[in-house]
C-alpha cells in the first residue's frame, strides 16, 4: 500500500483512552472526545477503554483506512510506555509512524489532581495543542546502526570474569581489562564464602584459569581504560597497559626471581594481604594469581632507584623475562558493547575514630581478617594477632560505615552474612568466645536465614546494639590488657562492657574512589552515593542511560557473590541480545545542520554533551553524527544563526503546540476554575 501523503490537508484521527479508571475516573473522557471532534482537521474522535489493547490499536488501523486519515493523536499515558505501540499501529494503518503524536493525560493529568473540572480542562488544552502540532509532522526514517560483535569488559573480579566467560562461551570476542596485576578481585582474597562455607579460591580459581585459557578472551591485567569514544555498536577504546618490567610472554611464573632478589626479606606492605605481610620489589600477588606473571615495583626496586643493583633476579631468570626498559603501552580496540564491572572498595574504618582502628593493633577490618584466617594468608591461617597473641575473646562489630548518616547511609547488604561467616571461622580457628554486635541481622538471601539459624546454635554471642566505643580503659583488674567494647544490650536493657582481645570491624561497601572519573569516561550516571546508576531500578537493572554500556556487580551497589554473578550473566545477555540483533534502531529525533545557514562558528562543538558534533574543515560547516546525537536540543538552542534544527522538534511544531496550549488563555491561567467548553 502506498504511504499516505503527509502533504495533503491534514486529516486527524483522535483517540482518548479511559485506562480503566486511571484516566476516566478523573477526566471526563467523553467530553474530551466530543471537544476534539470540534477541532479543525479532526475527522474522527473517539474514546475507548484501553487504547493499548489489540482492539484499541485496531481502531486506529481501521480508521486510517476507512477515513483516509493522515495524522493520529492518542491521549493516554506516558509516551515512555506506549508511544512505540501507537507508532506501530499508525504504521500498520499505512502511515509513516512519525505522523503520530501522543498526549499524556494520565501521569500529567489524572494522577496528579483530584479535581475533575481542572483535570478535564487541562486535558482539553493538551489535546488542542497536540492536534495543532501534528499537522506539522513530517515523514521521518528510522536509522540503523550496526553492532560490532566484540565486547569490552572492564574489571575482572567475579562479575567481570563471569560476564567475560558467558560472552566468550557464546562465541564473542572479549577484551577483559583489569587494573590490578591479577584478576580475581575481592573474592580472591576471601577465605570461605557464605552460606555454604565453600572456599572462595576453590570455586574462583577454575574460573580464573578458564579466563586465561579461553581462545575468545584477551586478558589485559595491570591495565586501565584511558579513553572511550563512539556510540552504541561502535565504541573505540584506548587501554593503557602499565609496565610490569617482566615480559608476560616469557615469564612462566616460576618465582625464582623473587627468591633471588637482593632483598632477603620483603620490606613493602603486601597489598593483597592487606598489609599484614611484606613483599619484595619483585613479587606476585598470590600463588594462584592470573596471569601467573611476576612484576617489579619501580618505587622500591634498587635498580630503578639507584641503577646499581646486582640484578640477581635477571641472572636467575633463564627465560630472560625481566625487562627494566619496558614502557607503558596504549592499545586501541573497537567494540560494540561494554560491560562495566569495576567493583567496590571497603569502607576505611579510620573514619570512625571511636572504634580504635589504626590505634589499637588488634582492631582489624573484616578484609584483613579474611586474609588472616586464610590458609594461604600471611599467617598460613593461624589466628595470631599483631601483638603475637592468640585471641581468647573476639568482638565483631557490624555496620561499620553502613546505616550511618555520618558515613554511609546505605546498608552494605553483605556484612551481616560475612560477619556470621567470620564468627564461624574465628571460632573454628581459635575456639575463642565470639561476640557479634549488631543492629539487625539481615539474612534475606537463599539459605541465608538457615545459615544464621545454624550460627545461632554455635554458641556465638549475639548482642543487639551498636557499639559506641572500643577503648583500652580497664575499670576492673580482669579487664586489664583487653580492649573494652561498650554497648547497650538492647534486648536485655543494660549497658555492657565486653573485654576482648581482638576486634573485627565489619566494614561496609563503597563506590570505587575513582568511580566519578570512570562514569565520565563512559558517559554514564551515578546515583547520589556514587554507585553507577541503572536505567531502571527494577526493570532495567544492568542497563545504563548510555546505549550499549551495561553494569554488573558491586559497582552498581553493594552486592554479594550470588547477586554479582547473576547481574554479570544478565549484563552479558543484554550485550548478546544487541550483538545478535546485529543492528540497533535509532530514534530519528536527531539534530541536523542547515548548511546554508551555518557560519562554522564552532559554538555548538563544545556544548554537545555527547561529542556528536565536529567541524567539517573542508566545508567549514558543523557536522552532526546522527548515531551519537541523543536529541537533547542543546545545540539547536545554542546556534546563533539558527542553522541547527531537530527532527520531531521543528520550530513550527513547537510553536503550534504552544499556540494550541495558549489559545484559550483563561483556561491555562485559572486552572481549577469552571471551564467553558468551546462552542
Amino acid at each position: 500500500m502506498p504511504e499516505t501523503n503527509g502533504h495533503d490537508a491534514p486529516r486527524v484521527g483522535f483517540y482518548v483512552c479511559h485506562c480503566g479508571h486511571n484516566i476516566a475516573g478523573i477526566v471526563d473522557v467523553a467530553e474530551v472526545a466530543r471537544f476534539a471532534g470540534t477541532l479543525p482537521n479532526v475527522i474522527v474522535a473517539r474514546d475507548y477503554k484501553y487504547m493499548c489493547s489489540d482492539p484499541g490499536q485496531e481502531l486506529i488501523i481501521t480508521d486510517i483506512r476507512e477515513h483516509r486519515l493522515n495524522r493520529i493523536v492518542v491521549a493516554s499515558c506516558s509516551p515512555l510506555l506506549h508511544e512505540h505501540t501507537f507508532r506501530v499501529a499508525t504504521e500498520k494503518g499505512g502511515l509513516n509512524p512519525f505522523y503520530f503524536q501522543m498526549v499524556n493525560i494520565r501521569e500529567d493529568v489524572s494522577w496528579v489532581t483530584e479535581n475533575h473540572d481542572a483535570a478535564t480542562h487541562k486535558a482539553l488544552d493538551l489535546v488542542r495543542a497536540a492536534v495543532r502540532r501534528v499537522a506539522h509532522h513530517r515523514s521521518l526514517a528510522t536509522k540503523h546502526v550496526r553492532i560490532h560483535p566484540d565486547v569490552l569488559v572492564v574489571g575482572a573480579g567475579i562479575s567481570g570474569i563471569h560476564a567475560a566467560l558467558t560472552l566468550a562461551n557464546a562465541g564473542k570476542k572479549v577484551t577483559l581489562v583489569e587494573r590490578e596485576p591479577t584478576i580475581g578481585g575481592h573474592m580472591a582474597m576471601f577465605d570461605k564464602t557464605f552460606p555454604t562455607l565453600d572456599c572462595a579460591a576453590c570455586i574462583l580459581t577454575p574460573k580464573m584459569s578458564a579466563v586465561k585459557n579461553h581462545p575468545n578472551i584477551t586478558l589485559w591485567s595491570y591495565s586501565e581504560v584511558s579513553e572511550v569514544s563512539g556510540y552504541v555498536g561502535s565504541y573505540t577504546v584506548k587501554v593503557k597497559r602499565k609496565p610490569r618490567f617482566v615480559s608476560e610472554e616469557l615469564c612462566v611464573g616460576c618465582m625464582e626471581c623473587i627468591d633471588a632478589c637482593v632483598y632477603k626479606e620483603g620490606k613493602t606492605p603486601d597489598e593483597f594481604n592487606q598489609g599484614l605481610s611484606k613483599r619484595k620489589p619483585v613479587y606476585i600477588p598470590f600463588p594462584q594469581a592470573t596471569p601467573q606473571v611476576v612484576l617489579i615495583d619501580p618505587d622500591t626496586c634498587i635498580e630503578f632507584k639507584s641503577g646499581r643493583c646486582k640484578k640477581t633476579c635477571v641472572e636467575k631468570c633463564d627465560r630472560n623475562a625481566i625487562d627494566f626498559k619496558q614502557k607503558e603501552e596504549i592499545k586501541e580496540i573497537q567494540v560494540g558493547t561494554i560491560i562495566l564491572a569495576t567493583g567496590f572498595k571497603t569502607f576505611d574504618p579510620k573514619r570512625i575514630p571511636y572504634y580504635g582502628y589504626g590505634k589499637y593493633p588488634n582492631v582489624y577490618s573484616s578484609l584483613e581478617v579474611e586474609r588472616l584466617v586464610n590458609a594461604s594468608g600471611p599467617t598460613g591461617g593461624d589466628l595470631v594477632l599483631r601483638d603475637g597473641r592468640h585471641p581468647k575473646t573476639v568482638g565483631i562489630i557490624h555496620c561499620v560505615g553502613s546505616r550511618d548518616r555520618n558515613t554511609n547511609r546505605w546498608c552494605s547488604r553483605t556484612c551481616c552474612m560475612y560477619s556470621l561467616k567470620l564468627a564461624h571461622l574465628l571460632k573454628e580457628h581459635s575456639e575463642a568466645e565470639v561476640y557479634n554486635f549488631y543492629i539487625d541481622i539481615r539474612a534475606a538471601g537463599k539459605a541465608y536465614e538457615e545459615f544464621y539459624d545454624k550460627l545461632l546454635e554455635e554458641n556465638i554471642h549475639f548482642i543487639r546494639g551498636r557499639v559506641a566505643e572500643v577503648t583500652d580503659w580497664s575499670a576492673r583488674p580482669e579487664e586489664e590488657g583487653k580492649m573494652i567494647i561498650r554497648v547497650e544490650d538492647t534486648l536485655i536493657g543494660v549497658v555492657r562492657r565486653v573485654p576482648v582481645d581482638m576486634v573485627v570491624l565489619a566494614v561496609g561497601m563503597e563506590p570505587q574512589a575513582d568511580s566519578q572519573d570512570v562514569r565520565r569516561m563512559f558517559n554514564i550516571s551515578c546515583s547520589t552515593e556514587g554507585f553507577f546508576l541503572e536505567r531502571h531500578p527494577k526493570l532495567a537493572p544492568v542497563d545504563t542511560f548510555t546505549d550499549g554500556i551495561f553494569i554488573a556487580g558491586a559497582c552498581q551497589g553493594p552486592k554479594d557473590i550470588p547477586d554479582s554473578v547473576a547481574q554479570a550473566g544478565a549484563a552479558a545477555a543484554q550485550a548478546l541480545s544487541l550483538i545478535d540483533a546485529g543492528e540497533v534502531e535509532l530514534e530519528p529525533n536527531t539534530a541536523y545542520v542547515v548548511e546554508e545557514s551555518c557560519s562554522g562558528c564552532k559554538s555548538c562543538l563544545n556544548i554537545c554533551p555527547y561529542t556528536a558534533i565536529t567541524r567539517d574543515e573542508t566545508r567549514q560547516k558543523a557536522f552532526i553524527n546522527e548515531a551519537l546525537c541523543k536529541g537533547c536540543g542543546t545545540c539547536v538552542a545554542t546556534c546563533p544563526s539558527g542553522a541547527i534544527r531537530q527532527n520531531l522538534f521543528e520550530d513550527e511544531q513547537i510553536f503550534s503546540e504552544i499556540e494550541g496550549l495558549l489559545q484559550e488563555k483563561e483556561s491555562v491561567l485559572t486552572g481549577g476554575g469552571a471551564w467553558r467548553a468551546p462552542a
Binding site: 568466645e433 545461632l456 543487639r464 575499670a475 536493657g493 543494660v494
Partner: protein, 216 residues
C-alpha cells in the same frame, strides 16, 4: 559463693510507677556473668536450643502473665544465654509461669519455653535463689514431701503445710473457702495413701537427684 540477698516478693499488682529511691548501677561487667549458665540451663531443659532464639517476643506476647513479670520470657531467654544468672534466678518471672504452654506452641524456633522455665525453677530451688517466703517453691517442696510420704497428695494437708510455712495469717483468710469446700464435700482431711509405698519409695530414691538438688 555468697548468695545475693533475695528481694522481697511483691505480689500486689500496681500501675503506679516505682518511686526513685537510690541510684542503681545498670552497667554490666562481663566478669559478673556466668557464661556457662545458658548451656547448663539448656541441658537441664532436655537440650532446648536456647541459642536459636531470635528474640522475636512471641512468647512474651502470648503469655497471659508476662505483664506481671519483672522480665518478659523473651528477656529471660536473652539473659539466660548471656549468663545473667543472678537476675534470672532471682526473677519473679519464673514463679509466675503457670505452665500453660502458650509460648511453647507458638515459638517460631520451636523452643519449649515452659520446660526452660521449669529448669530455671529447679535451678533456683536447688541454689536457694528465691525469696524466702515465696510460696511457690514452698508449695513445690511440700508437695514433694507429701508424695514421697504417701504416694498421693491430700490437698487439704498440702494447703495447711503451705500456709503454715509461708503465711499462717493467710490460712485464716482462706478458712472460709476451706469451710465451703468442706461443706460441699470437696475437701477431706482423710489421708490418701497407696499400698505399694515401699516399692514407690525405692523407685524414687533410685533416681539420682540432680547434683545441684538440695537434700530434702
Amino acid at each position: 559463693m555468697k548468695l545475693p540477698t533475695p528481694p522481697a516478693l511483691r505480689t500486689t499488682v500496681t500501675n503506679s510507677p516505682p518511686r526513685m529511691k537510690t541510684v542503681v548501677r545498670r552497667l554490666k561487667f562481663e566478669s559478673e556473668l556466668d557464661l556457662s549458665f545458658g548451656e547448663h540451663v539448656a541441658e537441664r531443659a532436655y537440650g532446648q536450643k536456647l541459642l536459636s532464639c531470635i528474640q522475636c517476643g512471641t512468647c512474651s506476647a502470648t503469655c497471659p502473665l508476662s505483664h506481671y513479670m519483672d522480665y518478659t520470657p523473651r528477656k529471660i531467654i536473652a539473659m539466660t544465654r548471656e549468663g545473667f544468672k543472678d537476675e534470672v534466678l532471682n526473677s519473679l518471672t519464673i514463679w509466675l509461669c503457670a505452665s500453660c504452654y502458650a509460648c511453647t506452641v507458638q515459638c517460631p524456633r520451636q523452643i519449649h519455653i515452659t520446660d526452660v522455665m521449669y529448669a530455671l525453677k529447679r535451678e533456683a530451688i536447688a541454689r536457694g535463689f528465691y525469696p524466702a517466703r515465696n510460696p511457690i517453691p514452698v508449695l513445690a517442696k511440700a508437695f514433694y514431701e507429701r508424695v514421697r510420704h504417701d504416694g498421693r497428695n491430700t490437698e487439704s494437708r498440702l494447703l495447711i503445710t503451705l500456709y503454715l510455712r509461708t503465711n499462717p495469717f493467710k490460712m485464716l483468710k482462706e478458712a472460709m473457702l476451706g469451710l465451703h469446700l468442706f461443706l460441699t464435700g470437696r475437701l477431706s482431711l482423710k489421708k490418701e495413701k497407696i499400698k505399694g509405698m515401699k516399692e514407690l519409695r525405692k523407685m524414687i530414691d533410685s533416681v539420682e537427684p540432680r547434683k545441684e538438688a538440695v537434700p530434702l
